[in-house]
Assembly symmetry: C2
């Protein structure tokens, strides 16, 4: 790794001006084939790679899009990993464990993995590369601000950035808000039809269950998704002529453990005939609890989830759920960004993606 080669080095070597080098790289046809070849050779020989910073500065665009989401995993507290130290060298090549349990990742992370893939795919299709940032509250460093200075556009997951900060960033670059409801702002949005899908799912459950013993397993109060899902549930229940007071509502925090606990409290109070959960992880936890209590699903109680995690397909019985179009969420966000970059003053748009209700055994009394 000698001195990094620049346009000047290449120009010297090819005996042309730096402008010609730049042309060869950006619009090859604008230069005579012979010259082009000389330049290309020089590029190869020097191992020249153009500086993204210099390009970005001159072009006033970076060719990078940013994806920013909250850090759910409390990763700030992750133990330091020292792979370079002495004691590391003496580690055994493997260890052994008899526990069958697998630490399930936070559901939102699984969700984000796929969103990320969709975003990357579409970014690539549009000629961008993707930068990712995870929100961690370190007042002294602002990752999102940092990112905003390096990208042409930013996708943020709802709730991951305080409103005032977001407003400031949006002053500099286009912002797309993912998966949160539009709150009268001017951003472009991508959302799903939580309410409608949950309403329909609830109707399907109501068609089978004993109406007087239906329960809802809600998510944390500050989740917009959770709120919309409750809305859909409530609407369907009301439509069916049931008073909301007659349904039992328990609350969890979207984790499997919280679902299990909530279900245990339900069981203690007399098990419901059907449990509609605000997400898959909690539904799976409830499934555990019901089985432990000797209740059969779906014979004794119906259960539904929401999200469409892989684990929901693998449970016993397989869990009825609603699948999020995660890949498409990522892709749509990038498309919105692309559009806005081209037409900066287009009307703010909200793209609403369809969900897919997956009917499986956990909600089908007949099978």
């Amino acid at each position: 790794m000698t001195k990094r080669a620049t346009v000047y080095d290449v120009a010297d070597r090819a005996a042309v001006s730096i402008a010609t080098v730049s042309r060869v790289l950006r619009s090859p046809d604008a230069v005579r084939p012979a010259t082009r070849e000389r330049v290309m050779d020089a590029v190869s020989e020097l191992g020249y790679v153009p500086s993204g910073s210099a390009r970005g500065l001159a072009e006033r665009r970076t060719g990078v899009l940013g994806l920013y989401f909250p850090g759910f995993d409390a990763s700030e507290d992750a133990p330091p990993l020292d792979v370079l130290g002495e004691e590391h060298a003496s580690m055994p090549p493997f260890t052994m464990a008899r526990d069958a349990a697998d630490p399930a990742a936070h559901p939102t992370l699984l969700f984000l993995d796929e969103v990320l893939r969709g975003a990357e795919l579409e970014a690539w299709k549009q000629g961008f590369v993707l930068m990712i940032g995870v929100g961690r509250d370190d007042p002294s460093r602002s990752t999102v601000r940092d990112m905003a200075g390096r990208v042409d556009g930013l996708i943020v997951l709802a709730q991951s950035v305080p409103d005032d900060v977001l407003a400031r960033l949006a002053q500099r670059i286009p912002v797309v808000v993912l998966s949160g409801p539009s709150r009268g702002d001017d951003y472009d949005h991508v959302t799903v039809s939580n309410t409608e899908a949950m309403a329909e799912l609830t109707r399907l459950v109501l068609a089978q269950a004993d109406h007087t013993r239906i329960a809802f397993l809600a998510g944390p109060t500050d989740s917009p998704d959770g709120a919309q899902r409750w809305d859909g549930f409530a609407a369907a229940v009301t439509d069916a002529g049931i008073a909301l007071d007659d349904v039992t509502v328990v609350r969890g925090d979207f984790t499997r453990a919280s679902g299990r606990e909530a279900a245990e409290s339900l069981i203690a109070a007399g098990p419901p005939s059907a449990l509609v959960a605000a997400n898959d992880q909690m539904a799976l936890g409830a499934l555990d609890a019901f089985r432990s209590a000797g209740l059969r699903v779906p014979e004794d109680v119906l259960i539904t989830g929401f999200d469409g995690l892989e684990a929901a397909a693998l449970s016993t019985p397989p869990l009825t759920t609603v699948r999020q179009p995660m890949i498409d969420l990522g892709r749509a966000a990038v498309q919105l960004l692309g559009r806005r970059l081209e037409r900066p003053d287009a009307e703010p748009a909200t793209v609403r993606l369809p969900l897919q209700i997956l009917l499986r055994e956990s909600s089908q009394r007949s099978g």
Copy 2:
């Protein structure tokens, strides 16, 4: 989105020079509190965010690390998604499906999701942001070259970049190769002890199984991981005094379907007493095939996988496997990069991370 504010705008507004603005942002203590405050106010009022390109150019470092891996999902062929068109607006809010099947993601993708999280975590700890790139063979565009121009260091998954290209990039920035064996190159490497762990796992299986009817389900020939796992298996078998000719070897391509097919061919030829697979997905496919054929696992045949996917914990019976330290792989790669950036001419290092053998029901005759 008016004109983007620059240092000059801030300087004007605060009635200081641009140098002072820069100082306030980079070393606040070097400037008198009163001045500092004036500048900060101007920054807020203008919504100023420093340009990453300009910074990168002046500082000669970008503060960005790159993570580049191959695109397994044939995503080039993904259908165009048009969320902005007319017909999109008329889409229903949800659809319904009765199929319980869930399209399992490519195993390597799941693997990469976690590596990515580890890399991001460590990058954040070291004050970097992460840029990601996926390899897709488009001769006209070279994403990896592109990335190399924008980052301070690059992590590449083994085999995702041709040797000659990698060599050129490494001339410009430090490169860490992930999960591939070092082939006499000068890069820093992060790997796992595939061979040793597979050997140990095989020993455990041999201790229970009928030695004459053991089979190995290999991965694609061009996979270094697959090759190492075979080496470990072969070593253990040989150590046990068994001739390699006596073991049946079938080959798949790491997918579940290929595992199923391979197992079916085994069954047709007379089922083995134990099947050691080179990865989880194939092992799960084999599990399917054995069950369809009426063979019981582990009573009739033992099965083991490799990777530690969540699906392996959820199968029936749970699959014995070897868990990759995916998070730590990502973290270690970033640490190596950090070290190299600090001490450019340190000795090339290879970090070998321990694997974890997870003993579960599929390989335990006694239970």
